[in-house]
Symmetry: C2
Subunit: 139 residues, 2 copies
Amino acid sequence: MSDLLERLRGRGWRMTAQRRVVAEVLDGDHVHLTADEVHAAAVSRLPEISRATVYNTLGEMVTLGEVIEVATDGRAKRYDPNAHRPHQHLVCGRCGAIRDVHPGGDPLADLPDTERFGFTISNVEVTYRGICPSCAATA
Amino acid sequence: MSDLLERLRGRGWRMTAQRRVVAEVLDGDHVHLTADEVHAAAVSRLPEISRATVYNTLGEMVTLGEVIEVATDGRAKRYDPNAHRPHQHLVCGRCGAIRDVHPGGDPLADLPDTERFGFTISNVEVTYRGICPSCAATA
DNA sequence: TCCTACAATGGACATTGTCCAAGTCAAGTG
DNA sequence: CACTTGACTTGGACAATGTCCATTGTAGGA
């Protein structure tokens, strides 16, 4: 069930009640919570958990490469536990819903050398923006 | 020279000293300033310009479609005056340098219907991340 | 069981951005 | 050119998000 927790445990991560709760809250598919949302969900299971701990824990998960930071809206960063498989994001501009998507093709191949300015490119992020079906229905 | 200013004037935008300064500061190629950087540069030409005005003015330029908002780092939004030609961004993960790039191909074509979740997609943003030549030299 | 290094806490602080009431001004009108 | 008016600007308060730090607590090994 909790893949994320298992992965963290397997890396010898020191386990505490707080870290377990954060990992559990964050686990799943198409999960893209803000730090505050993670904190709110964590508090309902462990009332005394602090904001600082949530921020610390999320930051460590990102450093370990088990969680990805996503900035789709210029507001709060979101945290995506689906780090084991490369994917991109599809965002609804009205309600903010986010889906993980898996485009075919290699976006890196589309960037000719003359457009690389001598950079060594390590990563490509693609964000598709549009309107989700339920928002389109109530347009 | 000041394409941005010309475009705004051509739209019947009411011109003030503050707006002119913001437009002048923001004009150019590969320009991706934060609101605060715009404000700092504007203050050096018009010392009494306020932060609120810079935010208001940038927001209006974005609404008019003459400036694009870019969120490459989850920190402050950046403002890109190169709105007349579609492009993507190449970002140095070390120093934060940003270049405008023009990939070939249509990233939208790479997303099969089965991965669209019924969304109506209107826009695709691609961010290439890597290390720029001068950072690579001092690694 | 005890130690010790690492983790959690909470509150201050920093950064970025928004809002508002009051004063100021661009630009059209006569 | 002076007047008028609605739009623009201002500065400061406030909000949202995130970071830092000294203190307290605790997981996990000896």
